[in-house]
């Protein structure tokens, strides 16, 4: 059994990225949009790991980057969910269409 090459992993990563992008632009539910952002972040993580493993196997930079991104994504998710909860309290909905108060 041959192990997967770099291009396979990059393919999966690109697929994840565009799925996330699609979800972010088409879904109206804020929770779903948050999940799509997580997908995008994880595609980036996958890229880092893959390049680290296949291009510079003797270095650890990509790995550390990934760890940092996971930590930041967790914090960001916490903030985002707090915002979503507050939005729900004031608008009784988590639909982005209902949150259009800040405009010209």
């Amino acid at each position: 059994m041959t192990s997967p090459g770099l291009e396979h992993i990059l393919f999966i990563s690109a697929a994840l990225f565009f799925i996330g992008m699609y979800g972010f632009f088409t879904r109206r539910n804020l929770i779903t949009m948050l999940m799509s952002i997580e997908l995008i972040l994880n595609s980036v993580n996958l890229n880092f790991i893959a390049f680290n493993k296949y291009v510079w196997p003797d270095k650890m930079d990509g790995l550390f980057f990934t760890l940092f991104i996971i930590a930041i994504a967790a914090a960001e998710a916490a903030v985002a969910i707090a915002i979503i909860i507050n939005l729900y309290r004031s608008h009784h909905s988590v639909d982005v269409e209902s949150a259009q108060d800040l405009k010209y």
Binding site: F25, V96, A99
Partner: protein
């Protein structure tokens, strides 16, 4: 004269009065503010007289030196060119501080009665203090820029006092007119200062006179050589400075503000528009007299002719006016014309400097009798409550003190022998006779007219129309005024009668050396006879009510009408400003402002608004469209950096 720095107190005491009364008068002093102002001025006047006495008494060398009592460099531009604040003592400034403080003191005392019960009583005294301070600062200036500053201060206080009754539209118009006309003249003065200080390299009076009067000095040679429109720079400087002086001294054709300035309270007219401020122009010419006389005789010629023309025009106008204060205003203008042309016919040094001495002498005596005339007119106005001659008549019984003092002043101004005006006027006429015959004859005619119009005024107030006075005295007995109003009249009457006996030539002359004024009896016959003729004519025409004046005025026709309308000079000014200046300069400038300047501003605003209008749609509030924009922009920037910029 060792410690003379106390002289600074003379101008500072009235200033203290101004600050004190202006800031705290209304709240704390009320009616006492008049007393406070008067006491401060009394102290200042005593100091001034003491100083002058010391200055004139301490003359041991036989020639009066100018002394700089105090000098403080205020702005130093370069070596030699600096604006100093100083006190300059010489014979004319000593004479002026005595005149200013004395007349001001009289006016302060008089106003205690005249302005009593006035709502802005303490403000009035504050303004009087400000004026006295500025006038004293002006005469004591040691630097031409200092004199300019005080010159403007005097203008401001005059403006404030003319417009004292600010709820009267005519007073408001008059104060604006006075300020604008004198300001216009001061523009010439300022340019003149700049020109003279440029060619002489200094602003200091002493140094400037020294540099500009030595024909050998190279500075003067270049200054005379450099010319503009065929006239040398020094001459231009002198002419422009005289323009400032002419504006302040109400010389033709810049005199139009003076008659209107009579809208102010009468004591103010006595102080500012008769005795002190209006002679500032004469004083300025006298101050720079060596430059005029030695370097620029052309300017002196101009001064002489402007003076004599003003004198005769004002005298003719004064014959037809019916407002008593206006008559006095034109008479003032005429007398200042006398002082001006006396300077104009004078030369520097020795016997030929008679005109200078005569001019200063006349300034001194004129201050006395003209202040007296104004204060007397004030008493009459106070009594009758009108400025018009037709409301007056037969007042000699009900106002005996005013009558006697007014008569003395009229005789003095008419040049009645042995009263003060006689001596000074004879001296002026003698000086004119020696130097310039044409000016002499015009002046002689004018002095006859002076006697006529003064006695027209006198007879109209105190004799003519007796029935007016009788009807009033039967209904209610009025007093002619409180003691504080009569006291200045009496003091000034003594001054007007006796001031002529001061041997003026001994004290004031062009070069500081005493000048023996020889008095020629046969020379004075002609002016005195003319003066008598004027008085007698007035006596015939105005002592009793008769149809003679009306007949005469209709027979003179056009001349009478022109004189009554002040030779239409106001109308000419109006025509020039309204029709020519407004239409040819004002309107195009307004168009340019409205369409070009405003256009640029509006275009900037409009275009920014249009831009904002067109991009504000991006702020839609839709989260996902923001994200899409962000993504697209990121892609575009990435493309630029990757493929184009490199």
């Amino acid at each position: 004269m060792n410690n003379i720095s106390y002289i600074v107190l003379i101008p500072l005491l009235p200033l203290a009065g101004f600050v004190l009364l202006g800031l705290f008068g209304k709240k704390y002093f009320g009616k006492a503010s008049g007393i406070i102002g008067t006491l401060l001025l009394f102290a200042s006047a005593s100091l001034a007289i003491y100083t002058a006495y010391h200055y004139f008494a301490s003359n041991v060398t036989g020639q009066y030196q100018s002394v700089i009592a105090l000098k403080y460099t205020w702005l130093q531009f370069s070596n030699g060119l600096s604006i100093d604040m100083g006190l300059y003592l010489d014979s004319i400034s000593m004479m002026m501080i005595v005149v200013v403080t004395l007349i001001s003191l009289m006016v302060h005392i008089y106003s205690l009665g005249y302005m009593k019960g006035e709502k802005r009583f303490c403000t009035y005294y504050a303004y009087l203090g400000l004026f006295t301070f500025s006038m004293l600062g002006l005469v004591l200036s040691s630097n031409i820029f200092q004199i300019y500053m005080f010159w403007e201060l005097v203008g401001v206080s005059s403006y404030l006092l003319i417009g004292f009754y600010y709820d009267k539209p005519s007073a408001v118009a008059a104060c604006k007119k006075a300020f604008i006309v004198t300001r216009f003249a001061d523009l010439g003065f300022l340019i003149g200062i700049l020109v003279l200080s440029y060619v002489s390299g200094t602003l200091d009076f002493n140094t400037m006179i020294q540099t500009l009067t030595q024909p050998e000095s190279s500075t003067l040679k270049t200054a005379v050589a450099s010319s503009f429109l065929g006239v040398s720079a020094v001459t231009w400087g002198g002419l422009l400075i005289f323009m400032g002086g002419a504006g302040k001294s109400a010389m033709f054709p810049l005199h139009i503000w003076l008659p209107d300035a009579m809208e102010g309270p009468t004591p103010v007219s006595a102080l500012i528009h008769a005795a002190t401020m209006v002679v500032a122009g004469v004083y300025l010419v006298a101050r720079l007299f060596p430059i005029f006389a030695i370097t620029t005789p052309v300017v002196l010629e101009v001064i002489g002719w402007v003076g004599v023309i003003s004198a005769v025009i004002a005298a003719i106008i004064a014959c037809t006016q019916t407002d008593i204060k206006r008559v006095l205003a034109y008479s003032t203008m005429s007398q200042i014309g006398f002082m001006m042309f006396a300077l104009g016919v004078s030369k520097y040094g020795g016997e030929a400097g008679l005109g200078f001495t005569a001019s200063m002498f006349h300034l001194f005596t004129h201050a006395m009798f003209k202040a007296l005339l104004f204060l007397g007119a004030g008493a009459v106005i106070h009594y009758v409550h009108s400025n018009e001659m037709k409301d007056m008549g037969g007042l000699r019984k009900s106002m005996p003190i005013t009558h006697i003092t007014f008569l003395i002043a009229c005789l003095a101004i008419a040049g009645f022998p042995l009263l003060s005006g006689f001596f000074s006027k004879e001296e002026i006429l003698l000086a004119a006779y020696q130097q310039n015959a044409a000016i002499y004859w015009i002046a002689l005619f004018t002095s006859g007219l002076t006697a006529f119009y003064m006695f027209r005024l006198y007879f109209s107030i105190f004799w003519n129309r007796e029935h007016l006075a009788h009807s009033e005295t039967t209904t209610h007995k009025k007093s002619e005024g409180p003691f504080v109003m009569m006291l200045p009249l009496i003091i000034l009457a003594i001054g007007a009668a006796a001031a002529g006996y001061i041997p003026f030539g001994k004290y004031v002359s062009t070069d500081g050396k005493p000048l023996e004024s020889h008095f020629d009896l046969s020379f004075s016959i002609l002016p005195v006879v003319l003066g008598f003729a004027g008085i007698v004519t007035a006596w015939i025409m105005y002592k009793k009510q008769n149809p003679l004046p009306d007949k005469l005025s209709s027979s003179f026709g056009a001349l009478y009408k022109a004189s009554y309308h002040k030779f239409y000079i106001d109308e000419i000014y109006l025509f020039i400003t309204k029709k020519i200046l407004f239409n040819l300069v004002g309107r195009p400038a307004a168009w340019f402002d409205k369409h070009v300047v405003d256009g640029i501003v509006n275009f900037t605003g409009n275009s920014i608004q249009w831009m904002a209008e067109s991009i504000k749609k991006f702020q839609s509030g839709k989260l996902q469209s923001y994200a899409a924009l962000f993504l697209m922009t990121a892609l575009i920037i990435a493309t630029i950096f990757i493929y184009i910029w490199k």
